[in-house]
Symmetry: C2
Subunit: 80 residues, 2 copies
């Protein structure tokens, strides 16, 4: 089993209410100087080898299904 990771984050210019809420809570709890943005991490277990075709397929999946590219960016990488 090979592992491919897709990270999906809100674009820098997009407001991130969850991240903002966490940042506010951390400040109130005394953790200064930290700014949090929250995104999603998808771990995709691939049966068989990770070929270029397979990575391209997962790239298309990320682009069309996992990320909303109007407001989010994504990155695909193999891991482990």
């Amino acid at each position: 089993m090979a592992l491919v990771v897709v990270d999906v984050m809100p674009k820098p210019e997009i407001l991130d209410p969850q991240g903002k809420a966490i940042t506010g809570s951390l400040t109130r709890l005394g953790h200064q100087g930290l700014s949090v943005r929250q995104g999603k991490r998808f771990e995709i277990e691939v049966t068989g080898d990770i070929t270029k075709e397979r990575l391209d397929e997962i790239g298309r999946i990320a682009d069309t299904l996992l990320a909303n590219t109007v407001i989010e960016t994504y990155a695909v990488r193999t891991e482990g």
Copy 2:
């Protein structure tokens, strides 16, 4: 600005309904041999240098606030 990433994933023995739904959708769409688990990715911008104390602090934040360690695992790492 330095970046610390906290990845939070459901523990392997925990059901992951979001990941299961995505896996089912991918199979129906003709993407075979992919098994997806969905977690969270937190990007934490740190003002100033990343010291060992700072990383320990973020580790405590991950353990107590960002992850529910009953059902989730987390990993802290510097990036970029």
